[in-house]
């Protein structure tokens, strides 16, 4: 068939959009970079693996069940989530990862000519989905690494449907307090939806970190995102959700894809939810990792942004994409921050003690090799 008119079929905003290329599998990368093992510290995953109950479920899962469709609207899981979060089941909508839920919301509220407002240096998917849907993404620069209330408000107009706030922010780990969030909601008013992305909420151990869900009765224009990918270590199963008022979720449900969350994901999430022992263990792993990394950066005189989240940002005195390649050769995969508009920074996910120690050594070797004057030191990647 001659696809001569293919280009004419594609909307301009899709034509302009460049597809995201995810990283190849470990074995391919190891072969390319010549490393015998690869520690992924780029996706903010939980190195502990899923909570015990979820792991046990996965081990004993009856394969015969996969011939049947899952619950199309995740009914049992919604019931448990609603109970756990103190909302009603219709207030919860699940998706194939929080990423899919972002798309549900944008589709539900935006049409061409509308816009979304968010920060310039935050999780990219809000901006991406808006752009390839033909919706303008207006970006407010961060202020001192945090979301800037004034900048966001200045970009809001009558065609602004959604304001995305990543709280805490990926990749900076900064967050708005309850008071600050309330002040923002009051200033913004009820004419726009505010999406609070709380993908890392379970890591937060700060008294004035706001639980967005508790503010729903006061601000019915709020939508809260959460995910099982981060704290609950179910990233590979792809499951995330949103919570809003029933009025709002009744609308979002129209654009939500039914049956998109698979059986395994639903049941594993059901088993994992609310395991406080596991959450505590993860938090202490994160805290140890953050401390180790902060100490290493202090020694190397590298600025670092740490937080309660399971990642930290480090500023290097040379290119982050070069650092990425050199660290890959040593078997450590980090996230370069140029793509987040933070050139020269890398984001590192917290891992177990061994991996963190190995990473600290690799980082130290890297920094010395690029900053020491001796060409020999450079050539051999050591400090003389």
């Amino acid at each position: 068939m001659n696809l001569c008119n293919l280009e004419a079929l594609v909307p301009q905003y899709v034509r302009q959009f460049e597809a995201y290329i995810p990283s190849p599998p470990d074995d391919e990368l190891q072969q390319m970079f010549g490393c015998s093992r690869l520690v992924r510290m780029n996706n903010n995953e939980n190195p502990l693996g899923p909570p015990p109950a979820a792991a046990a479920f996965l081990k004993t899962f009856d394969p015969a069940l996969v011939s049947r469709y899952p619950s199309g609207d995740c009914r049992p899981l919604r019931a448990k989530l609603a109970d756990y979060l103190g909302v009603t089941p219709p207030q919860v909508i699940l998706g194939n990862g929080a990423n899919e839920v972002i798309a549900f919301v944008i589709k539900a509220f935006c049409q061409q000519g509308d816009n979304i407002v968010t920060a310039d240096r935050t999780f990219a998917v809000y901006e991406w989905i808006a752009r390839f849907s033909g919706i303008d993404a207006r970006l407010a620069p961060l202020d001192d690494f945090g979301f800037d209330e004034e900048g966001l408000l200045a970009r809001v107009d009558s065609r602004t449907k959604l304001v995305f706030i990543c709280n805490p922010n990926n990749p900076t780990g900064t967050w708005w307090s309850r008071d600050r969030l309330i002040r923002f909601m009051e200033r913004l008013g009820p004419d726009h939806i505010v999406v609070l992305d709380e993908a890392y909420a379970e890591f937060m151990d700060q008294p004035d970190y706001p639980d967005g869900i508790s503010l729903l009765s006061r601000f019915p224009n709020l939508i809260i995102f959460r995910t099982f990918s981060k704290m609950y270590a179910l990233a590979g199963l792809r499951i995330g959700y949103l919570v809003g008022t029933e009025q709002v979720t009744d609308i979002v449900r129209k654009t939500a894809i039914v049956y998109s969350v698979n059986t395994l994901a639903q049941s594993a999430a059901l088993a994992a939810l609310g395991d406080q022992t596991f959450i505590t263990a993860t938090r202490s792993l994160v805290q140890e990792g953050q401390q180790m990394l902060a100490a290493q950066c202090a020694e190397l005189k590298l600025p670092i942004l740490t937080s309660d989240c399971n990642f930290a940002m480090i500023k290097l005195p040379f290119s982050d994409t070069l650092a990425y390649r050199l660290l890959m050769q040593q078997g450590y995969m980090v996230r370069t921050m140029t793509g987040f508009r933070f050139p020269g920074w890398i984001r590192v996910s917290m891992s177990n003690c061994d991996a963190m120690q190995g990473f600290c050594t690799a980082l130290s070797r890297l920094v010395h090799s690029r900053t020491d004057q001796s060409p020999l030191a450079r050539a051999y990647g050591v400090s003389l």
Partner: protein, 424 residues
């Protein structure tokens, strides 16, 4: 402006008239418009011979600083006619069949041909506008202690910046022309170029960096040009970082920097080689924007030491295959795109197709460029296009040597070679 026309010689006056009128409307002066018309005549006749009767469209793309005449043809013409060295011969029947673009390309600044994604070919002739000579400003430039960066400078500031380049930097320190001010303003107005400017509190000029996002995955950058080049490391870093930030979340893979002096490592650029251009050298740097996952690369044995050295110093993950000439026909024939900068005598050849006639076609090009007094001649080979490797021995044999590596500069990595002198 667009013209649809059949490829028959009788239609030539219409096409030539269109080209001239459109070029003038786009602001080319009479002599430049006439040159473009002349090129059009040659090209049109060549096409009439190659694919007689075919329906084509001719379009003018006004780039402000230049006018592109674009010929879209539905099927591949005999590509040999597009080598700039093919001689036109109006006198004989056979000569007509070999009608070439010798004159066409001599009258133009850039000539290229590309296969379009959805079928058909597009041939481009570019003529640049001419501008009045820059006026020198003799007042001294001072270092500015605190500055702010802007990506949308006012026209007046742009003009000041162009004057600063003309005053403080030798022509050899910029492989592209950004002077006089009118040219820089027009380049910015084309939206292919951008300028990040640093200004003090009173708007006094501290420095700037120019970028050019053409087609492809690489953004070319020029600068930083500074009012007081001796001092401000921080300013260089800030300009380079701003630029990187600007393209960080884009589809571009990398930045190539042509710098009057090497910026500090914290600016994020890695040394990528240095180019000799008439009257001096330019430090070149590379900044990858994307995360590297590795790639396969096909490289001629002759370029292997250069390529492996650079891959190792730039920490590029490459599965390198040595590509041998086993007598294959490659792309069948050889075709170069050419980009000329007559002002400083620079020419860049890009192989579009490489076949068994590579040596002859290359030598014809070099002969012509020598005749035309081009003294800085570059050619690229692409490690993602295996047949390019067939060209490498002929390049080395003709006095080229590899100078610079641009990761992801083409389908794969681009090795830039420069001609040092005569044939070896």
């Amino acid at each position: 402006m667009k013209l649809s026309v059949e490829l028959v010689p009788e239609r030539m006056p219409v096409v030539v008239g269109f080209a001239e009128t459109a070029a003038k409307a786009a602001g080319l002066d009479a002599s430049a418009a006439a040159m473009l018309a002349l090129s059009t005549e040659e090209l049109f006749l060549a096409l009439c011979n190659s694919i007689p009767g075919a329906a084509i469209t001719v379009r003018l793309h006004d780039r402000r600083y230049a006018a592109d005449l674009l010929f879209q043809v539905p099927q591949p013409p005999d590509l040999r006619i597009f080598n700039i060295t093919s001689r036109p011969d109006h006198d004989t029947e056979e000569g007509l069949a070999e009608m070439g673009l010798f004159l066409a390309s001599r009258a133009c600044d850039q000539f290229s041909i590309r296969q379009m994604a959805l079928g058909g070919w597009e041939i481009m002739l570019r003529k640049e506008r001419s501008y009045p000579a820059p006026v020198q400003q003799s007042q001294p430039y001072l270092a500015v202690q605190t500055w702010q960066l802007t990506t949308t400078p006012a026209p007046d500031a742009v003009k000041q910046f162009s004057t600063l380049i003309a005053d403080c930097y030798a022509a050899c320190q910029f492989p592209e022309e950004f002077t006089p001010p009118g040219r820089l303003l027009d380049k910015l107005a084309s939206n292919e170029y951008g300028l990040i400017l640093a200004q003090g509190q009173q708007g006094e000029l501290a420095g700037g960096l120019i970028w050019h996002a053409g087609e492809g995955r690489i953004v070319e950058c020029f600068g930083p040009y500074l009012a007081a080049p001796a001092e401000p490391e921080q300013l260089s870093i800030a300009l380079c970082e701003k630029l990187t930030e600007q393209f960080g979340r884009s589809s571009r893979q990398g930045l190539v920097l042509y710098a009057p002096q090497q910026p500090p490592a914290a600016a994020g650029f890695e040394a990528a080689g240095s180019l000799a251009i008439p009257g001096g050298t330019i430090w070149t740097g590379y900044r990858m924007l994307a995360e590297e996952f590795g790639a396969d690369a096909a490289v001629a044995a002759e370029l292997m030491p250069f390529y492996t050295d650079w891959c190792s110093s730039m920490a590029l993950a490459r599965n390198i295959r040595s590509y041998h000439d086993d007598g294959e026909t490659g792309n069948g024939l050889t075709l170069f795109a050419t980009r000329l900068n007559r002002q400083i005598g620079m020419a860049r050849l890009t192989p579009l197709l490489v076949g068994r006639d590579a040596e002859a076609v290359l030598e014809e090009h070099l002969h012509l460029l020598d005749q035309e007094q081009f003294s800085a001649i570059y050619c690229t080979v692409d490690t993602g296009r295996p047949f390019d490797a067939l060209l490498a021995p002929h390049l080395l044999h003709n006095g080229f040597s590899p100078l610079m590596l641009i990761p992801w500069g083409g389908t794969g990595d681009l090795i830039l070679l420069q001609r040092n002198g005569g044939k070896r």
